[in-house]
Symmetry: C2
Subunit: 330 residues, 2 copies
């Protein structure tokens, strides 16, 4: 189905690795739809090349320059910049219908049936269940809707400062009007829900179709032992075998399909310069380095990581990379 | 409307005090419906008399003896005993339609419009939002439904060991079939949701109609200063002014309307014996005593309290009660 697509968003190289695993998980389960990713300018050229091997379309969006209406809106409400990035998905009018999925989601089976749903279909948020969670939603690209969203955002802002608050205010009848627009929770099973109502997870969790690593601990924040195929656990995961199995699955896909892409890329014909080779090696090392951070500064390092602030002169310097790679990939 | 009722459940004297505050809150907001309470045998005779002054009907249910079908069911699955107590609400066939409310809920405004909804209407559970929370639900009493529920329970049990798991399995199409049966979350706003998605609470919480003190910390577990009309806070409430205001409201109703009932009752004509007088005084003192427990054994004491195991020979002995009352009610 060429005019329908799964759409995700990569705001930096780290989240793009999440997006790659998501994209690969969709491919592994034989989706018949296109895969598209929106990226922001700070995504590196090497990462863009890797994204092209998993996604059918890699589309750069720039919060400031991409549209006059966006520009004006952001002048009034600069704090909505990140929120607005996701809204760009409505501009993908080459598609008649899309399913948006956050880069921290993972598909467990074929979910193409979601395209039978109408805009705006989404699963309830487990924190405030009259809101939908904006990590997975069905939408129809439309410039008109896009402009109305921008207009609404500048007039009303977002009650939570993010896209979820904005989209829930805009599609405000979700909770009360059409049960068909309530996706079953198993299409956006937030890992935090596993803790808040364990018996329900044990009863319904086996039917999970999409898992959403909600919260600050993303799969790429854990340490993975590729030899034993296990994750070095800290306190936060020890409580749940189920959460653990989702993390292992994420890493299994990362190692089987994404890491090889990052490794082989510098040998591609159009990627011969040493500069780009370094960049690729660097990409791999970042994840490895992050995974071996010790506790004391882990949170601070994670924050930097998520903000895309790499330590090019320090721990991420080239001499460290080679050493890490040797021990990590042997 | 004489053939419709709000129904609650009191499984011991402590929960009955929650039920009294709930009942009073419904009266304060001028409900046009009857108030009914199901109680179990361990509720004291004094408490029953107090309940009669707030509720139109006080109905003792006994998990073992009230019905042959119940008896048989429990022989097979004794662990479902507590669950089955709530199911008795379907036997109240003197009413055409009812709204069940847990004893740890509190009404903030008139909610009689709930009777326009059909069985089984309920609000989503914030832990697993494809389940409804069974703290507030609209139902139609029916012996047939009651028997089918018992039958279902003995065959399938309850996935969470409680009434919520059972009712969700029985009314299993709630999540997918009729949006009209999804009560807005503001009709069963679990206080835990205030923490999990603060921005949503700040945005939607002002419309709250029913608050549900979900979890182990019930309003009657806090210490209240009746002079300053404030609650002595521990760590668990310091995070939220909103949660705090709901607690203060509960205690305000308790002090204004429920405590006077407990105090004046022994002077009622049919309650002259010294034995019953002691029992009443004891009731009041229990709450006061509980509130002044020191930290080290608070959790253990709370557990005993919730299980209805009072320390009649120790801290709850009569000589202690008088002293407590003097300092507390002066």
């Amino acid at each position: 189905v060429a005019d329908q697509a799964f759409v995700t968003l990569g705001t930096d190289d780290v989240y793009c690795q999440g997006a790659l695993v998501l994209g690969q998980s969709l491919r592994n389960h034989m989706t018949s739809r296109k895969l598209a990713i929106l990226i922001t300018p700070q995504v590196s050229s090497v990462m863009r090349a890797v994204l092209c091997s998993v996604f059918d379309e890699v589309i750069e969006v720039d919060a400031i320059d991409s549209a006059d209406s966006m520009h004006l809106a952001l002048l009034e409400r600069p704090e909505l910049g990140v929120t607005f990035t996701k809204l760009h998905c409505w501009t993908l009018t080459q598609y008649s219908k899309c399913v948006f999925m956050d880069a921290d989601t993972l598909v467990l089976c074929n979910i193409d049936e979601l395209f039978e749903r109408e805009e705006l279909s989404a699963a309830p948020d487990s924190g405030w269940p009259d809101c939908f969670n904006s990590g997975v939603f069905v939408f129809r690209p439309s410039v008109e809707t896009y402009n109305r969203l921008l207009q609404f955002a500048t007039e009303h802002g977002s009650f939570d400062g993010g896209d979820q608050g904005l989209l829930n205010s805009f599609f405000s009848n979700w909770a009360t009007t059409d049960i068909g627009k309530h996706l079953p929770f198993i299409y956006n099973l937030s890992t935090s829900a596993i803790y808040t109502y364990v018996p329900a997870f044990k009863h319904f969790g086996r039917d999970a179709k999409v898992v959403h690593f909600l919260g600050s601990a993303k799969p790429w924040h854990y340490k993975y032992n590729s030899q034993t195929r296990t994750i070095m656990q800290d306190g936060s995961t020890s409580g749940s075998q189920h959460q653990y199995s989702f993390l292992v699955l994420w890493w299994k896909i990362y190692y089987a399909s994404i890491l090889p892409l990052l490794e082989t890329l510098p040998e591609m014909e159009d990627m011969e310069s040493q500069g780009q080779k370094d960049e690729t090696t660097h990409l791999i090392s970042e994840l490895s380095t992050q995974l071996e951070l010790e506790e004391p500064n882990a949170e601070e390092e994670r924050k930097k990581w998520e903000e895309g602030r790499m330590d090019y002169m320090g721990k991420d310097a080239f001499e460290h990379i080679k050493k890490k790679l040797d021990t990590f990939l042997k």
